[in-house]
Amino acid sequence: MTKAEAFFLWTAVWIYGLGFISFLFGVVFKRDRWLRYGWYISFAGFIIQSVSMGIRWIEAGHPPVMREYENSLLGSWFIMVLFIIIRAWQKRMEIIGVLIIPVVLLMIGHGTMENPVIEPFSPPYKSNWLWFHVFFAWIAYGAFCIGAGLGLLYLLKERGEKKGKENSLFARLPELRALNDLTLRIIIFGFVALTTEIGVGAIWAYGLWGRYWGWDPIETWSLITWLAYGTYIHLGATLGWKGRRMAWLAILALLFVFITFGGIGFLGGVHTTIL
């Protein structure tokens, strides 16, 4: 890691931390203004993180996709991109930052515990499929994170309404039915991206290893994740499940995403060898 990259990265981490405190203040003390501050601060953190990643890209000569450190950086960046898009689409969604920013910080923290040495692209990475595979993977995982966040918001809002407590913050959120639909929509979006990622990965694997599927741990966990979210979509879209149980499912299904992401590097198999 170069000094410039480290400077910008740690600055981004501090700014994200401030952003999270602002979000938390806004939620706990029910101050709308502090949510807005949290949003602006986190956005600034995102810009600075982007600068850090840009520096790394220039130094390494390739996008930051190798090894756990770069994967963590890229993943957290993609989650922020999706958060920005969701917030631009629905301003009331900025409250979700209180859940998203800790996830971003955890991912960056996980990455900084790994070796940040800059390496040139190893031969397996030199493929056009890399771009599609990594891009769609992070879009999918980011969408599932947002979906889980929305599920949590649903539960909190529902709890507040049941207790009859007036909470101006949760009152700003869409009604429960709309939150439900929004969660399903985002998860379907993530599912499309995950399907593309798995398919592209299989095509790439065939050219790289001579087989499109080998039950490698990462491949298997990706499939489990795909099946879990496929079940979620079927339950919501065809059986008409709604409400609290769908919110819980959206949160629990994220566990598979964490295992798949976190497994890169220690679950073993060809993915780890290549990485």
Binding site: E119, P120, F121, S122, P123, P124, K126, S127, P174, E175, R177, A178, N180, D181, L184, R185, I188, F189, F191, V192, T195, T196, G199, A202, I203, Y206, G207, L208, W209, G210, R211, Y212, G214, W215, D216, P217, T220, W221, L223, I224, L227, A228, G230, T231, H234, L235, A237, T238, L239, L267, G268, G269
Partner: protein, 454 residues
Amino acid sequence: MVRFLNYIGSRRFAIYLLVVTVFIILASNLLPRVDIMEDEERQRLERERPVLYRAATYLVVGRVVRSPYFQVIPVFIFLSISVCTVRRIRTEIGRQDGAIPSNLPVQHSLDFMEDVVSKEYLATRLRERGWSVSEPGAGGTIYGRKGEAGIWGSFCFHAGMNVVLLGILVSATTAVNGALHLTEGFPLRTPESIMGIRGVGDFPFKEMILESFVPVIVRKEFPVEYICRVAGTDKRGRLRRYKFGVNDPLEADGYKFIFGESSYAPRFVLRDKDGAVVADTVANLLIFKPGAADSFEIPGEGLRFKVEIFPDFYNDDGKIGTRTLLPNNPVLFVDVEKGGKVIGRGFLPKDKAVNFADYSLEFTELRYWVKIIVSKDAGMGIIILGFFLITAGLFLRFILNERRLWIIIKRNEKGETLGLGGSARLFPTFFEEELRRLAEEISLQIQTISKESN
């Protein structure tokens, strides 16, 4: 039979299948992956936790999914998808458009003091907003549809799933996959020398030879490219030359030749005390890892060699290692055992003979060996097709949500009432918002027209 098909094609059954599949693969994958463990780790697990080791051996995911008990599941998935999709297509094609569902609520009601709007006007306004509107017929109803291709996205996705399942079946029954270990300069007869391969049909080469292997290393330790040059003698005896590397496989007659891995292949000449050559052999060492040793035997002599290679050897005041991965100064550290006893140990530089016991050993040459994965899979094309159908179908499904809209015009002595109602297959709250905005826009436009005409 009908009841069976109804149940197989039901959504509930589809969800049961998904849940069972997730559960089985998850449970299997939570066990230690003995199939990909290092030997030492596997042996430790077997020693310290024999029950877990046995369970992991028999229930490892690669084995479970090949078991006939599991393979029933994809058969049921295929049937379920087929029955459900065909039924849904028939329902969709046979659906009568335009008929207002009896329980459809009028979600918005717009009242006007006079007759200001015609059906044709409303139909035009809806078309401007992307609605597909049937020509207004007799009666006071206008019917519009939007995003109707979305349901076909679902059909496309599910058809793609079945295509993938068929592709997997074709792969499972016809694919060939094996490994060929080539050492530089040594030809091998093919396909006989390909390990693990069965059912090879018309193989493109009678013989193959690795002419050269060049690893491109930067900053002394990072490989950035591997260049293999091979030559193959085809069935007509012609020599064909190829160059390939990682992510750039060689393709010939439907077979893919993929670079797998490589390492060093030192050549040893072992002589007895009289100087007669006992063995002149090239040993394909394991993948190079600092500190890792490989071993091999010289049959007939009962000798066992344990070899550690230092491709770019250095010795700085007793501190030894390798500066780079390139063979700039190759030295071997050799342990020689006979009958379980070490009879020789030491460093063996290139082109220097070393004596031990009744032998002399010389390291004369350093070559490379390469593992080439040989693969042919007719199912891959089918799977790629299925994947595209799945992705296209999902994309359509996500982008397009079928919505239906009715505008009912009722005229009375006070004026006119427009009743707007509709339904969406997915995301009803989003559709309610869309309908609300549509009602507002129509109301505003009609009021503007009314003012202008007055």
